[in-house]
């Protein structure tokens, strides 16, 4: 990545800083348009730049420092370093406001990071208002995530999935990104030590826990190990699935996290506390949740049920 195009905290010339002066407690709409997928709105409020789809917040970014203000779950996308310290190629499904893209470009500029986003307007908005820059190590492709994986022969060390959307009628998961067949495809496109980190909206025991349980069980069908990381400040759960078959204990993961932080491999502040969110045993009721397949994936029905 050329230094000039680098997204980083140490660049005061950052375009968005200019907007800071007008940011106040009152929300100011910067952009609004409707794509085939969402009503997309960008607004500035209280020093934060906000992206909403259909009235629901997708991305938060501090106008002062684009590497701050993001949602907590974005930080769990750094967890794959625990299993692979040599990550070189990352594929992410779902762009939104590009929080993960900004972080990876800033903290790991040597990693090749590619994003697949279905909505071309979202790509434009992320580039124009959220500082997502394409460069030799940051690329954005407009396509459906599953189609892209299917038609691609490339191998990835890490696959990040953030394709959920949510509005006041509930959360919506694209069912074709949640089935056994999709995860098999993902596994086949990963390197032998490959890792999937999958953001899901819900809780472990109440709201939408049936979907989380089904996702967990479906990932377990394909990947030997699946770890649950519930976010503390929001109702997100990041599921991490590894091709590596050895189960790591909490202690091992925390030790590894310290090593990664002291060596400077993972520079994101607070990495260790994210690792500590690990929930070692899945809730008992997960055993009753069904595996999702292309043929039968009642995600919409599950999403409207509590448990």
């Amino acid at each position: 990545m050329r230094p000039g195009s680098q997204v980083g905290p140490g660049r005061p010339g950052w375009l968005l800083v200019a907007v800071l002066s007008v940011a106040s407690a009152t929300a100011q709409v910067v952009f609004e348009a409707t794509s085939p997928y969402h009503n997309i709105r960008v607004e500035d409020s209280g020093g934060l730049r906000l992206l909403t789809f259909d009235g629901t917040l997708q991305t938060r970014m501090s106008l002062r420092n684009p590497l701050e203000g993001h949602f907590e779950y974005i930080e769990y996308f750094h967890l794959p370093w625990l299993w692979n310290t040599q990550i070189a190629r990352v594929l992410m499904i779902g762009l939104g406001g590009g929080s993960a893209q900004r972080q990876w470009a800033a903290y790991y500029p040597e990693v090749y990071f590619e994003t697949v986003e279905i909505d071309p307007l979202v790509v434009q908005v992320a580039q124009q208002y959220f500082g997502v820059r394409e460069g030799p190590n940051q690329r954005v492709v407009v396509e459906d995530g599953r189609m892209y994986l299917r038609r691609s022969r490339q191998r990835w060390d890490v696959l990040l999935v953030d394709a959920y959307t949510e509005n006041r009628y509930g959360a919506f998961i694209p069912y074709h990104l949640a089935t056994r067949e999709f995860f098999e495809l993902a596994r086949d496109r990963l390197t032998t030590n490959g890792i999937v980190a999958y953001n899901a909206i819900g809780t472990l025991n109440a709201w939408q826990s049936d979907v989380i349980g089904s996702l967990y069980r479906t990932l377990r069908e394909v990947f030997p190990q699946v770890y649950l990381f519930p976010a503390q400040t929001s109702q997100n759960i990041v599921l991490v699935a590894t091709r590596d078959s050895r189960r790591r204990t909490r202690l091992e993961l925390e030790q590894m996290a310290r090593v990664l932080q002291t060596s400077g491999r993972v520079r994101m502040p607070g990495f260790l506390s994210r690792v500590r969110a690990l929930r070692e045993e899945p809730p008992g009721h997960f055993a009753r949740c069904g595996v999702l397949t292309d043929d039968f994936a009642p995600v919409d029905g599950l999403l409207t049920r509590g448990r």
Binding site: I118, G145, M147, R151, S152, H176, T293, G301
Partner: protein, 263 residues
């Protein structure tokens, strides 16, 4: 959306005796001379091919139900190959509407020509079998559509839009086309007299649309949550086979009706 716009059949008014019109089932070829002086009570149907309105409405409703189940479930089925793109829904709706338009037109023409309910069975049975076989027939075709684009290269924008329509057309055009024939066909067989065509066509079209409404909600709210897609195709195919059976057995001419003189 929905198979609503069945066109009332008003083309043929030939007296029962004249069965001439060799071969030309082609719609449009039948711009024959409507008797200008047709009395309002002119008979449309030969007595032995008369169908009662309620059974006809039931058949139309079942057909409309099956069409919309296929449409809704089909959009979901296509997502595994074409993604959850907006264009999957656009093309699914578009293709089904094309099938409806074609089915109405051809169905009306066939009704004039055949005037037998039983013949529909020969169209519905293969359609039912086809629907049951979708989970086996479709994947190779869909694979071909997707894989004809070189790997690791973006699909051109035009094909991003048209590929789902191609896939949808290959799978869902045929069953929806046949099912759409039911409405005009049934209108023809149920209308006994020209003066009743308005009421009969209204009944049949309304019944078909009510069936479609049920199809949308049952498929979207119930079936998708409780059955696998292949099971839904199997049940819908079974329903179409059954409908074929009903058309076979309900043929009015099959029973001996005492001859009566019309007009």
């Amino acid at each position: 959306m929905g198979p609503s716009a069945g066109k009332p059949d008003r083309s043929k008014d030939a007296p029962p005796g004249t069965r001439a019109r060799g071969g030309t089932a082609l719609p449009g070829a039948g711009t024959s001379s409507l008797p200008r002086s047709a009395p309002s009570e002119s008979s449309l149907t030969s007595p032995r091919a008369r169908l009662r309105p309620l059974p006809a409405a039931a058949i139309a409703a079942t057909g409309g139900f099956a069409i919309l189940v296929l449409e809704i479930v089909g959009a979901r089925y296509l997502a595994k190959d074409f993604g959850s793109s907006f264009y999957v829904w656009v093309s699914q709706i578009g293709v089904v509407m094309i099938a409806l338009a074609a089915g109405y037109y051809v169905g009306g023409a066939l009704a004039d020509r055949w005037q037998q309910l039983r013949r529909l069975a020969w169209l519905l049975w293969p359609t039912g079998l086809f629907t049951i076989a979708i989970p086996w027939l479709a994947p190779p075709v869909l694979d071909w559509i997707v894989n004809r684009h070189p790997a690791d290269e973006p699909i051109p924008p035009l094909w991003q839009k048209l590929d789902p329509a191609l896939g949808s057309g290959v799978i869902f055009f045929f069953p929806c086309f046949i099912l759409a024939m039911l409405s005009p066909y049934l209108i023809r067989l149920t209308s006994q007299q020209l003066s009743h065509v308005g009421r009969v066509s209204g009944l049949i079209i309304a019944a078909s649309t009510v069936g479609s409404i049920a199809g949308v909600f049952v498929a979207g709210y119930v079936l998708v949550d409780h059955l696998g897609l292949s099971a839904i195709f199997r049940w819908t195919g079974g329903l179409i086979l059954l409908l074929g059976g009903v058309c076979w057995w309900a043929e009015p001419g099959a029973k001996t009706v005492p001859p009566e003189t019309s007009s």
